[in-house]
């Protein structure tokens, strides 16, 4: 991996004049059709969430509601508000822990290469690709044996551990770009492992932390398999609660739609406000850019 976190996708397009090409109008038609494909489900999501249950009718699915029913959101909040709180706590704690450990790991792997460091790193990385179904039964037993089954802490433990490969990867690539001369100069000044981390590495790590935190927060918030396996009702994150809300046949569709909006809002906001960093995490996940 000669790679750094790629930034090209987020860079400003070159300031050359638009290339002359086959039909500019054609280009915009293509873009509009594609945008419709991506946005129509979102239109339907809001149109349904804002309808009152008796206004929901399959034949008029696409019509914008005549009267906006904001109560869908408070009803959905009543059902999954607690789970949103669980998800928030889970995602914040797991992300902070995984990011801190990842930063130290990345620093150790990038700046203090020891024999076999690459092999260790490759073995760590494998953990990010495995299907979690292949570890689910022992994980369940382990969490149960620790007495953490059903609690949010069991879930946090699982997310921190399985988050380590990606956070380590992103930080390792980030620190690989820091000139070795900086570290060497600090060594000559008599600074050791921890002093260099505190004075040289950590202060320039903010962009790395932003990428890692955004990525890991999104991952943990959106995760479902561990949520369904390791928790019980009181500790369930929002993804599980939403699946229950939507799976039931009895509820009217405005409720799961409003729930989906609530569950999507945090990560969506992060993406819209900090999209640049989100894309970097996305591309870093492919190991090589």
């Amino acid at each position: 991996m000669t790679t750094t976190i790629p930034t090209a996708a987020t860079a400003k397009p070159p300031a050359t004049a638009p290339r002359k090409s086959i039909g500019r109008p054609g280009l915009y038609i293509v873009l509009v059709i594609a945008a419709l494909f991506f946005l129509l489900p979102i239109y339907l999501l809001f149109a349904t969430a804002l309808k009152s249950p008796d206004a929901i009718n399959l034949a008029t699915t696409w019509r914008w509601p005549a009267a906006l029913n904001w109560a869908s959101f408070s009803d959905a909040w009543a059902k999954i508000g607690g789970n949103l709180g669980n998800s928030l706590f889970l995602a914040v704690v797991a992300t902070v822990l995984a990011a801190m450990m990842g930063s130290l790991n990345g620093y150790a792997l990038a700046k203090w290469k020891f024999r076999g460091a690459n092999t260790v790193f490759a073995l760590m990385l494998f953990g990010m690709f495995i299907p979690y179904q292949a570890v689910l039964i022992p994980l369940f037993q382990f969490i149960k044996a620790l007495g953490l089954y059903g609690t949010i802490w069991g879930l946090i433990l699982a997310h921190v551990v399985y988050g380590l490969p990606i956070t380590t990867l992103i930080f390792r690539n980030f620190y690989a770009d820091v000139p070795d001369a900086l570290v060497e100069a600090a060594t000559i000044d008599g600074a050791g492992f921890w002093q260099i981390y505190r004075r040289v590495i950590f202060p320039i790590s903010i962009p790395g932390f932003v990428v890692v935190i955004i990525w890991e927060f999104t991952q943990v918030w959106n995760e479902f398999l561990f949520a369904a396996t390791l928790t019980n009702t009181s500790a369930q994150p929002v993804t599980y609660a939403l699946s229950q809300l939507a799976g039931g046949q009895a509820v009217s569709w405005n409720l799961p739609m409003a729930g989906a909006i609530l569950a999507a809002l945090p990560t969506l906001l992060v993406y819209i406000l900090l999209g640049r960093y989100f894309v970097r995490g996305l591309l870093a996940g492919s190991v090589k850019g």
Binding site: A8, L58, Q133, I137, V161, N222
Partner: protein, 373 residues
């Protein structure tokens, strides 16, 4: 490399907790799963949740049950489903992603806004996506109502409820089909190695292709995995799930391709134009070859995501729709609803093997290129 200084020891000390945790949670747990898959834990319901269950070693019996057992037709269909799903999902994401990237590379007005629109589903949970698309694909509503908006007749396709399938074949033919496909791949590898003058590789690949073909022709037809023919194919109930998955993930390939396109120096394209290449030739000769490594990376990442996909299927089709199901979902249900842990572990192991086929060569090639630098 310097010797073991105090600082280097600190580096190892800092890594130790993570290494230990991952050693247990990844490798230890995988080992334990494989062990469980060789036992009969949970096959007897009375023993499944017992405090000290009596667990017997049964060797490969669980795997045999999955691939040939009378009751496990659902699993076999899911194996076929996940392969079809993966192929269509990857093709969809690559095609749409490349198309969008090429469009954005032409610097349309409001480029950042378009990019945001194409990429935002990536930030959603598969459960959210699944909830939305389940509503989109209701038999009498959503997508099926769209033609009506243009004055047409509403479609009646049962997106998630269809029980039809296409590309059907008998499960008993699977060994032959697999052998022939692998033999063809080996043949291609042999040909390419031959063309680039790698002798050992040519011989090894050609020999394995020949062995596989001979086996497929002479041995495989006499093998019967099941007493009666069992027909599997691509279930049409999966089409909608593939579309939803492409909706969510094609922004990812778009971002990858866009990064690649932006990385191609303008001079290269200019040079091609000066040489008299027209726009299409320029893409074919200059741009696409440079994007090939990105395509490979994207296929690997998408492939392993697709094999693991579980939440999207769960949210869209529910747990009990056997026409729209995948092994990853079956593993969860078998283990945690029916408490058949050994069988679930066997499915988990099979998934791991499938994913490892994709990921291990990828990781090792990545690290080999790094060592050579």
């Amino acid at each position: 490399m310097k010797g073991l200084t105090k600082d280097r020891l600190w580096a190892i000390a800092v890594l130790t907790p993570s290494i230990l945790l991952l050693a247990i949670f990844v490798y230890g747990f995988i080992g334990r799963t494989v062990y469980v898959s060789f036992t009969d834990w949970g096959n007897d319901p009375a023993q499944a949740l017992a405090l000290n269950p009596i667990i017997k070693w049964v060797g490969l019996a669980n795997y045999q049950e999955l691939f040939t057992g009378f009751l496990q037709g659902r699993f076999r269909q899911e194996m076929i489903s996940t392969i079809f799903f993966t192929v269509f999902f990857i093709l969809g994401c690559l095609g749409l992603g490349l198309g969008l990237a090429l469009a954005l590379d032409r610097n349309p007005k409001g480029e950042a806004l378009w990019r945001t629109i194409f990429l935002f589903p990536m930030s959603l949970s598969f459960i959210v996506t699944g909830t939305i698309w389940r509503w989109m694909l209701q038999p009498q509503g959503g997508v099926n109502q769209l033609p009506a908006a243009f004055g047409g007749k509403p479609s009646t396709f049962g997106w998630l409820s269809s029980t039809d399938s296409v590309l059907k074949f008998d499960w008993n033919l699977l060994p032959i089909i697999t052998a022939v496909v692998v033999a063809i791949v080996m043949g291609v590898i042999a040909y390419r190695a031959f063309a680039s003058g790698q002798r050992t590789r040519t011989i090894v690949a050609a020999a394995s292709a020949a062995v596989l073909l001979l086996w497929a022709v002479f041995v495989a037809p006499n093998l019967k995995m099941l007493p009666a023919p069992e027909v599997h194919g691509f279930n049409l109930a999966l089409v909608g799930i593939v579309i939803a998955a492409v909706w969510q993930m094609s922004g990812y390939t778009m971002a990858l391709y866009l990064a690649g396109l932006r990385g191609i120096p303008e001079e290269l394209r200019e040079a091609a134009r000066v040489d008299g290449a027209n726009e299409i030739d320029m893409y074919r000769r200059v741009v696409f070859p440079l994007l090939a490594p990105i395509t490979l990376s994207a296929m690997i990442i998408l492939g392993h995501i697709s094999l693991k996909i579980f939440d999207l299927v769960y949210a869209m089709a529910g747990p009990d729709n056997t026409f729209a199901s995948v092994p990853a979902l079956n593993m969860y249900l078998t283990s945690f609803r029916q408490n058949q842990f050994a069988l679930g572990a066997a499915i988990g192991t099979i998934l791991l093997i499938l994913v490892a086929f994709i990921i291990v060569p990828y990781l090792s090639s990545q690290f080999r290129t790094e060592e050579s630098h």
